[in-house]
Subunit: 189 residues, 2 copies
């Protein structure tokens, strides 16, 4: 069984382990850590929270009365994005792997694009009746889609969104909000 190293060669810690393996003449497989999927941590005074959904929930509850213009929890406040696992797989194949010189797996891309298309058909129907996924106001259900879709829309497969009129209008709406524009600006290499 081959030894697996999970890390980034740019990391001094990973490099130290690779040096040791090379000095020993041991075979290893480098499993690249996905910098796009790194966890986030929040420190709010004495409160420390990990995991982006838990953080968003905390922020939406704690700061419910201060400068709130929209109910970010909304009616569909679970924040679970049904397309996220497909998006993450597509991002890894199309963006992360090429950074590490690994060829994208076209079979995985095909399967995940198919899964994504089925979910977007459901979204298309819902968004023909309501302006947002949670109903008539912007909510966590919409917000949670933005980061993955930012990368996805920069790829060659963006027509899966643009070809669906209601999904496309929704994406143009949520991605042009001032908060979205500000954060998307930071999401550049």
């Amino acid at each position: 069984m081959v030894i697996k190293v999970h890390g980034i060669p740019l990391s001094t810690c990973t490099a130290r382990v690779l040096l040791c393996l090379c000095e020993k003449g041991l075979q290893y497989e480098l499993v690249p850590v996905d910098p796009f999927g790194q966890i986030a941590a929040l420190e709010d005074g004495d409160v420390k929270i990990f995991e982006s959904r838990a953080i968003c929930k905390y922020l939406a509850r704690k700061y419910n009365e201060t400068r709130i213009t929209i109910d970010l929890l909304g009616s569909n406040g679970s924040g679970v994005s049904p397309i996220q696992s497909s998006n993450q797989a597509l991002i890894r194949q199309m963006i992360v792997n090429p950074i590490y010189g690994i060829a994208p797996d076209e079979k995985i891309i095909e399967i995940e694009l198919h899964n994504l298309a089925k979910v977007l058909d459901v979204y298309e129907e819902r968004l023909s009746e309501y302006k947002y996924l949670g109903g008539d106001f912007y909510s966590m259900a919409d917000l949670h889609h933005i980061p993955d879709l930012v990368y996805f829309m920069r790829s060659s497969k963006s027509s899966i969104v643009t070809s669906r009129p209601c999904v496309n209008a929704w994406w143009n709406d949520i991605s042009s909000r001032p908060a979205s524009v500000k954060v998307v600006e930071l999401m550049k290499l």
Copy 2:
């Protein structure tokens, strides 16, 4: 007290949290995660180990009889590098912060360079008597210095090493080992 977010804006998880904060109109401070200091994880069959020094120790012990050409544990096998905390601080100021558009703190750089110089004076004396830090053979004590020094030697402050003849000869020796050349090649953006 300002809210602190530990993360990378490129990460979809971090971006999700920033979106939430911006939508709420909340002030925050982004504390960039250092991709050069990321932890490494090793999977060797059923064994899973985190933290690079623990991994190196495990590898040196387990693979002690297979294709071993040097005793990587050596007499000074603790693997603790006295200059590592200075190096890490210097790398953060000189390499990581500029990536995030943060100005290097010249005061911290000055203090850490001073600390580093003092340690290197001790190394210079030791390396005038012995070929390596642990004695007459290459050991973990040497190996653990390589990843930090790779970045440091690429910076404008490399003369702190090159100006000390024995330290410089030691660096040229350990960085030109086949394993070192192979791994350093991977440590490029």
